[in-house]
C-alpha cells in the first residue's frame, strides 16, 4: 500500500469557526485500498476535517486533491462543490431519506449519474446483497433496525463506486453489543470490496481494529499519524501515550540521565528507570506514563525479569473487573495501576515490577 497511488490528500488545512481555530494546519493522505482512521477526543476537529474533504465545509486555507484533480485550493480559487467530488459519505446519523425506500435511497446516486433503470435496479440489488440487505429494498428507513440502517447508509455511499468513502462515526449509533460485530463486519466489507476509506471515530479500539493507518487529532492538530501498532506501541507525545490504551500518569523529578535513551527518575522518593520518549530533552520535572498491562506484581520473592525496576509499593484498593483485578498502588503522590489474577490485601506492601521500555518519560 505505501506505493499505491494517493486517492485523497488534504494538505495544510486551516479552518476556524468565528475566532476559535478548529483545524490548524492539518494534513492527511489516503492511498488506494487503505483505511485511515481519524481518531481524537470529542471536539478535536475530526468531523470538520472529514466535511472539508467532502466539500461540505469550506476551509480557510489549504488544498484538497482527489486522485490527480485539485478540488479545493483557496490560493487558486478552486472549490468544487460536494456534488462534484464523487465521494461516498456516510453520516453519523445515517441521514437516510425518509421519503424514499431503501432501494431508492441506494439507487439515488446512480439516478444522478443517469444509469438506465434496468441496470440501476440490478446494481442496487447486487449492492444490497453484498451488504447483507437482501430483500429489504422495498422498505422505508424507519422500518429498519439501527444496524440495517447503517448498512443502507454504507450501500448508498459505495453503490456508485467512489474512489474514497468518508465515514463519520459509522458505528456510534449502534448498541454496544451490536457495535462489536459491526466493527469486524465493516473491516471485512471494506477489505473484500477493496475500498479506500477515511473514517472518524473517538473510540480507540475501533480505530486500531479497523484502520491501516491512524491519524490522531488533538485540538485541531495532528498529534501523530502511523500504523495502529506504531501509535499504540510508540507514541511520540504525552497526549498520544495517555489517549491510547489504559495507563497511569506519574509526575516525577528527573535525577539524571542513564543513557541517551534512559533516565533515572524519582516519584516522591521512589526511584526507577524510564525510557525517554520526548524529542526535546527532559527538564527537572517530567511525566512518566506506564501502561497498565506492562506492570507486574511479583509473587513472594520471585526473581524479576531483566530490564526493569522493582519497587516496594503499598496497595490501596483492588477492583474486580470481571476477567481480572485492577490494583491501585501509591507511587509518590500518584497512583500506579496494575492488573492481576487475584485480589491483594489493602494496605499491604507488594513488590511491583516496572519495565524500562514500558515506562515512558515525557
Amino acid at each position: 500500500m505505501p506505493d499505491s497511488p494517493v486517492v485523497l490528500a488534504a494538505t495544510n488545512i486551516r479552518k476556524r469557526f468565528g475566532k476559535t481555530p478548529v483545524l490548524d494546519d492539518v494534513s492527511i493522505e489516503v492511498r488506494a485500498g487503505e483505511v485511515v482512521a481519524l481518531l481524537g477526543a470529542s471536539g478535536s476537529g475530526k468531523t470538520t476535517l472529514l466535511r472539508v474533504a467532502g466539500g461540505l465545509e469550506r476551509p480557510d486555507a489549504g488544498r484538497v486533491v482527489l486522485g490527480t484533480a485539485t478540488v479545493f485550493d483557496n490560493s487558486e480559487g478552486i472549490d468544487v462543490p460536494a456534488e462534484g467530488r464523487n465521494l461516498g459519505f456516510v453520516f453519523q446519523s445515517y441521514a437516510l431519506w425518509p421519503h424514499m425506500t431503501v432501494a431508492a435511497n441506494v439507487g439515488y446516486g446512480l439516478r444522478l449519474r443517469r444509469i438506465p433503470e434496468v441496470e440501476r435496479e440490478a446494481h442496487v440489488d447486487r449492492t444490497l446483497d453484498r451488504l447483507g440487505l437482501t430483500g429489504l429494498g422495498g422498505r422505508y428507513p424507519h422500518e429498519l433496525s439501527g444496524g440495517q440502517q447503517q448498512r443502507v447508509a454504507l450501500a448508498r455511499a459505495l453503490v456508485y463506486e467512489p474512489p474514497v468513502i468518508l465515514l463519520d462515526e459509522p458505528l456510534s449509533n449502534l448498541d454496544a453489543n451490536l457495535r462489536e460485530s459491526a466493527r469486524s463486519w465493516l473491516r471485512e466489507t471494506i477489505s473484500t470490496l477493496g475500498l479506500s476509506a477515511v473514517f472518524v471515530t473517538h473510540d480507540q479500539v475501533e480505530a486500531l481494529a479497523i484502520a491501516d493507518r491512524v491519524v490522531l487529532l488533538h485540538g485541531g492538530r495532528v498529534e501523530q499519524a502511523g500504523t495502529p501498532t506504531e501509535l499504540y506501541g510508540a507514541p511520540r507525545t504525552l497526549y498520544g501515550a495517555t489517549f491510547l490504551g489504559s495507563a497511569s500518569t506519574i509526575p516525577v523529578s528527573v535525577a539524571g540521565d542513564r543513557s541517551a535513551a534512559q533516565a533515572q527518575v524519582s516519584a516522591g522518593g521512589t526511584a526507577f528507570v524510564a525510557s525517554r520518549r520526548a524529542e526535546a530533552s527532559l527538564g527537572n520535572d517530567a511525566t512518566v506514563v506506564i501502561r497498565v498491562e506492562c506492570v507486574r506484581v511479583l509473587d513472594g520473592d520471585a526473581t524479576p525479569p531483566p530490564g526493569g525496576t522493582v519497587l516496594d509499593l503499598v496497595v490501596r484498593t483492588s477492583l474486580y473487573l470481571g476477567e481480572r483485578w485492577e490494583h491501585a498502588f501509591t507511587l509518590g503522590g500518584a497512583t500506579l495501576r496494575a492488573w492481576g489474577g487475584s485480589p491483594l490485601v489493602a494496605g499491604r506492601t507488594y513488590r511491583v515490577w516496572v519495565p524500562i521500555d514500558g515506562a515512558w518519560a515525557f
Binding site: 472549490d79 456534488e83 459519505f89 431519506w97
Partner: protein, 563 residues
Amino acid sequence: MARSTPTIPRDAWRQATVAVLATIVLGPLLLVAYQSLLNGPFFLESSRLDLGAYRYVIGGAQFWRAFGTSLVVATGMAGIAVPLGATLAFLLVRTDLPGSQWIEPLALVPIFLSPIVVAFGYVVAIGPVGFISLAVKSWIGTVPWDLYGLPALVAIAALTHVPHSCLYVATALRSINPELEEAARTAGAPPWRVAIEVSLPLARPAILYAAALTFLLGFELFGLPLVLGDSAGLLVMTTYLFKLTTLLGVPSYQMMAVVAISIVAVTFPLVLAQRHLLGQAARYATIRGRGLAPRRLRLGAWRWGAFAGVVAWFAVTVALPLGGIVLRSVVRNWGIGVDLGAVLTLDHFRALATYPNLVRGVIDTIAIATIGGAASVALYLAIGLAQHRWTGRGAAAIDFLVLLPRAVPGLIGGLAFLWVILFVPFLRPFRNSLGALWLAYTSVWLAYGLRLISTALLQVGAELEESARTTGASAARVTREITVPLARAGIVGSWLLVLMMFVREYSTGVYLMGPGTEVIGSLIVSLWGAGGLDLIAALSVVNVVIVGVGLSLALRLGVRLHA
C-alpha cells in the same frame, strides 16, 4: 479578496431573490418616507422638499392625543394579556386542567378571527342596543357598562390577544427539560414553587417576547379602535391616520405620510427588540429534554375553578362576539320585548347576493386567500430556499428585510402600495386589479409567511441534504428532490395559515379598495362608515365561515397553528 469559485453561480439566484425582496419591502416604504418630506402630493411637479408636514402634524394636539391613546392601549393590553396568556399556557401545558387537549386549539381561535368582525360582534352583543345590553336593561333597567370607551377598548384588545402570549409561553414551557423541574421536586420544592422558581424563569425570555409582541400589536391595532372608539371620538395612531382626510377636510398625502412614518418609527424599534428577545428565547429552548412529558401538576380543588375561568374567557372573547354576529345576521330588527321567532329572516344574506360589489368581494376574498395565498407561499418558499442554509452576507440582508414589514401595519402597507401603483407608470393599469391587492397582502404578511416556511424547511435535517450533495446532486436537485418533498407537510400547513390570514385581513385593502379589488374585510370597514349593519352582519358570518373551514382543515391535517 476577489475569488472566483464555482460557488458563485449558486449564489446568483439567491442574490436575485434579495434584490426582489428589497424592492418589494423598501420601495413602498421609501416612497412614503419621500412623500413625508414634500409639501404636496408626490405625483405633482410642483411639490417641493419641505418639513412643513412634520411641523404641522407633530405640532398638532390630536396627533399627541392619538399617540397617548395608542400608548395606553398597547401598555394596558400587554399588561393584561401577557399574564393571562402565561397563566393559560401553564394551565394547558403543565396542569391537569380538564379537557386541555380540546381547549388548546380552541384557545387559538381569536388569532384567526378578523378584528373588525369581532369588534362588530361586540357592538351587536353588548353595544348600547346590543342583544345582551337590552336583555340586561329590561331586567335591571340600565346597562351597567359602556362599550365605547377606553377601558372597554383595552379590555377587549387584551382578551383577544391572550392567545398570542399563550402560544409563545406554551412553546417555551414544552421545551423545558422536565428533568429540571423534577430535580427541583426531588430537592423538596412543592409544585407551585417549581412553577414560580423554575418553570417561569425558564420561560421568561418567551414571556418578555410575548410582551413585546403584544405591545407592538397594540400599537398596530386598527379594527377594534375604529369600531369601538369611533362614537366616543377616541383615536389611536392608525385610526387617526385613517380619519386624517376627514379631519383635514382635504386629502393630504404629506400628512398621511408623516403619520405613517411616525407609526413605523415606534414599531420598528419594537420589532428589533423582539428579535433580540427571540434570540434569547431560542438559547433557553436548546435545553430540550428527551424524557417523557413531566407529570402534570394536580390542581386539586382549583381544577374546576381554573376550568371555569378558561371557559369564561372563551365565552367573552369568542362566543359573545360570534354569537352576536350570527344572531344579528338572521334577525330583521331587535329591541326590548321583540319575539325572536317573529323577526327571524334570511333576507340579509339574500340582499348580499343582490349587490354585485359584495358578491365580488366574497369571491375575491376566497380567490385571494386560496390562489393568492398559494402564490404568496410559493414566493415565500423561493425566498426561504434562498435563505435556507445560506451563510453569505445576503442571508443577513434577508433577515433584516423581512423585519421591516412586521413594523408596518396593514393599513400603512396598503397605503404605500397604492402610492407605488400610482407612482410607477407601468403599474397604473393594475390599480383596480386583484394583483395589486395580492402584492400588498404578500408584502404585509411576508415576515409571518417566511417564518412558517423557514420553520418547515428547518425540519429537514441538514445531513439529509448534505448526503444528497455528497451523492452527487446539485443544489437545485437537492431542493427539488429532498428538501421540498420532506418539507411538504409544513409547506401545505403554511399555505393554510396564510390563507386564513388573508381571509382575516381587512386593513391592507382599505386604501386599495376600488371596483375589482373589494374583499370582505375592507367592505366591512367601508360599510361601517356608511352604517349598513344588516349587510355587515351577513358579510361577517361569511367571513367567519370561511375562516372556520380553513381552521378545521388545518386541524384535520394536524397543522401546527403557530409560526
